[in-house]
């Protein structure tokens, strides 16, 4: 009972400190800015991978017809000169010029020169596929596609940013805010008063963690509700946000107690943030993954939240992900308890 009262009073104190120092204001401010960006500024279509353009110089002009039928008229260019000038302006483009006729199909791939050989080989195979389909060359395919579940539509780019904004901010806010609280308590000397109080390490850690989880949930809800509405899937996302925020808070605690002030810790926080953001590359290029990404909690988290918010039919990933995050949190919690005890509260013992 006393322990619970101690925890509640410390939690209330931490929430007041967070409020007075504008943490809630920051959370609201960030959420409002991101909502505006997602709803009104970020376009629904953005091409991040190299842009391919096509010129149809074939006798039958069937290639252009095929691309128009597929709704890809915007990648068609009228001439090779137009393509070359575009490629000179933008080093992120590749051009394919289709020539010849059904009897003698040919194509030229104009590439910048920096593209990997394997990607060009793959593009060459794709060119044959386009010629075969557009020119009705009649070569049957050796393979049959097998779909594990029905094909899903393309997610608009602006909405695809929501899981990313959730994960990166929850990671950074949790890691940074708890450190800020620790440094302020050190600077103001309130940690000395805490050392001689009966409340121990666990109360200290859980109070800070719950404060950050509350901030993360506020941020999550403020971002979700105006962008995707009160969808029932939110009930599945919020536990993930809670555990992720808890994980990052205890990680932030473990690291920050080894530093003297925010002035030196902030550069470490930057490094941690960059590390956690590396899997963003995989998010934008799903065909790309480095094995090390699997070890970074943000990797499954952003894909998982995307799947929950914008389901494509994937199943069986939620519970393993939640369990994994919870297990990582328990390990991080034990490390935090050791670090806080040793570096922050030990003088009282």
């Amino acid at each position: 009972m006393t322990a619970r009262r101690g925890f509640c009073s410390l939690l209330k104190q931490d929430l007041v400190v967070a409020y007075r120092n504008g943490f809630f204001l920051v959370v609201v401010g960030l959420a409002v800015i991101f909502v505006i960006l997602v709803r009104f500024v970020i376009p629904s279509e953005v091409k991040i991978t190299p842009r391919e353009y096509v010129v149809d110089l074939t006798e039958e002009q069937t290639i252009a017809d095929l691309f128009m039928k597929k709704g890809l008229a915007d990648i068609l260019l009228p001439s090779e000169d137009a393509l070359l000038s575009l490629m000179q302006e933008d080093r992120n483009t590749i051009g394919i010029v289709f020539r010849g006729s059904r009897e003698n199909p040919t194509a030229v791939i104009h590439h910048q020169g920096h593209e990997p050989k394997k990607a060009l080989n793959a593009l060459s195979a794709a060119v044959s596929l386009v010629w075969n389909e557009a020119g009705a060359l009649g070569r049957p395919s050796f393979s049959t596609p097998v779909l594990l579940r029905p094909e899903s539509g393309k997610l608009p780019f602006n909405l695809s940013m929501i899981p990313l904004l959730i994960v990166t901010e929850v990671v950074l806010l949790g890691f940074l805010f708890v450190a800020v609280m620790v440094f302020q308590e050190k600077a103001e000397g309130s940690i000395n008063a805490y050392r001689v109080s009966p409340r121990g390490t666990w109360t200290y850690i859980f109070s800070k963690s719950v404060t950050n989880v509350v901030l993360a949930l506020c941020y999550g809800l403020l971002l979700f509700l105006p962008t995707i509405g009160p969808a029932p899937t939110l009930a599945a996302v919020l536990p993930l946000v809670t555990v992720a925020s808890f994980l990052m808070t205890v990680t932030g605690l473990s690291v920050s107690v080894f530093f003297n002030s925010l002035s030196d810790f902030i550069y470490v926080a930057l490094l941690v943030f960059v590390l956690f953001c590396l899997p963003v590359a995989s998010y934008f290029f799903p065909a790309f993954k480095m094995p090390v990404f699997e070890l970074i909690p943000s990797y499954p988290l952003m894909f998982g939240i995307r799947e929950i918010l914008f389901p494509t039919g994937k199943t069986g990933f939620y519970l393993p992900m939640l369990i994994r995050l919870a297990a990582e949190s328990v390990v991080a919690l034990l490390v935090a308890a050791w670090a806080v005890n040793r570096n922050l509260l030990k003088e009282a013992r």
Partner: protein
């Protein structure tokens, strides 16, 4: 005047040295550049991954390696498990009915179509279409160049953080009260506070560019572009110094301000050329443009973009001065 400024800088340097802040300020951003340098080759040579079942003949599996990365899996269950992972990796297996491309259903269209196209190319053995490759001789992608530009702009922000936290430290520790009874005035104080942060920004921008691209760029032009971008460093640092009275509010202000300061350059990478003009009033736009001309379009002059970056930064810093005077009362 100069002596008073030097004294404040020397005091800050002593403090930074004593608290090891200088080591963190220089070492960690450079560590980030080293990390990016390790990560970029994988991103630049990004290739597709194909998951092949053991039923795929060895010869075909070997040939697949000329189109991307190949993973081997034993049995349809394991292959299905792999395909269902979060990344876009198609699976290929063979049964009595022939070759099958196993897909999850949410892959990008090229991931869906490519394995079949490659299989056809390999299994027919002869080209359906005569494809010629024309290289335009551009040696590197823009990925690394953009990484360099963003890292340099990040260095400018890091310098701004040094200024901001130094001011906030003075405000929180009440050193400002002690300075108020010295002959130091607000302008001298701000110049002194800006000196160390600007030096950090300059050193970091040159060092991180060296880590990422070595001697492949003109460092005289880079120095000129970095110097003209220091206005961004000052603007960022002084804005936080003005609004934050302790480290907590400084972090809160940093979180909000980092959005326009780094968001504009990131947006410039992705948005179409036609709408970039909406960012003309931001000094970050002109800094990005200068750095782009240093790193990518090396034949274009940078004088005008540098001048615009300085001019806009000054125009945004000047209105802060009265507020800073009131806040510091020196």
């Amino acid at each position: 005047m100069l002596r008073r400024i030097v004294n404040v800088v020397a005091r800050d340097l002593r403090y930074a040295q004593r608290e090891n802040i200088l080591i963190y300020v220089i070492a960690f951003p450079l560590l980030i550049a080293v990390l990016l340098n390790l990560f970029l080759p994988s991103l630049e040579d990004m290739e597709m991954t194909f998951a092949l079942d053991s039923t795929v003949p060895k010869g075909i599996a070997e040939e697949f390696k000329t189109y991307g990365r190949v993973e081997y899996h034993d049995g349809l269950d394991r292959l299905t498990e792999r395909v269902l992972e979060f990344d876009d990796v198609p699976g290929i297996y063979v049964d009595e009915q022939g070759y099958h491309v196993l897909l999850e259903g949410n892959e990008a269209s090229f991931v869906r179509e490519l394995p079949g196209a490659i299989l056809d190319q390999l299994l027919y053995g002869q080209e359906l279409v005569t494809v010629k490759m024309e290289s335009h001789g551009v040696g590197s992608s823009l990925t690394r160049e953009f990484a360099v530009i963003l890292t340099i702009l990040g260095s400018m922000i890091t310098g701004g953080l040094v200024i901001a936290f130094s001011i906030v430290e003075d405000r929180a520790s009440r050193s400002l009260r002690a300075l108020a009874v010295s002959p130091l005035n607000t302008l001298e104080y701000l110049l002194a506070k800006s000196a160390l942060g600007s030096l950090v920004a300059l050193v970091l921008s040159l060092a991180s560019a060296f880590v990422l691209v070595g001697t492949a760029i003109n460092y005289v032009r880079l120095t000129a572009a970095s110097l003209s971008s220091l206005g961004i460093t000052l603007l960022f640092g002084l804005l936080i110094g003005l609004v934050a009275h302790n480290q907590l509010t400084a972090i809160a202000a940093t979180k909000i301000l980092i959005l326009p300061f780094m968001g504009v350059p990131v947006a410039l990478i992705f948005i179409p050329q036609g709408i970039k003009s909406m960012f003309y009033p931001f000094p970050m736009y002109w800094s990005f443009e200068s750095l782009y001309r240093v790193v990518v379009s090396t034949d274009l002059p940078i004088a005008a973009t540098n001048v615009l970056c300085i001019g806009l930064s000054v125009a945004l810093i000047l209105p802060l001065i009265p507020g800073l005077r009131r806040a510091f009362r020196l």
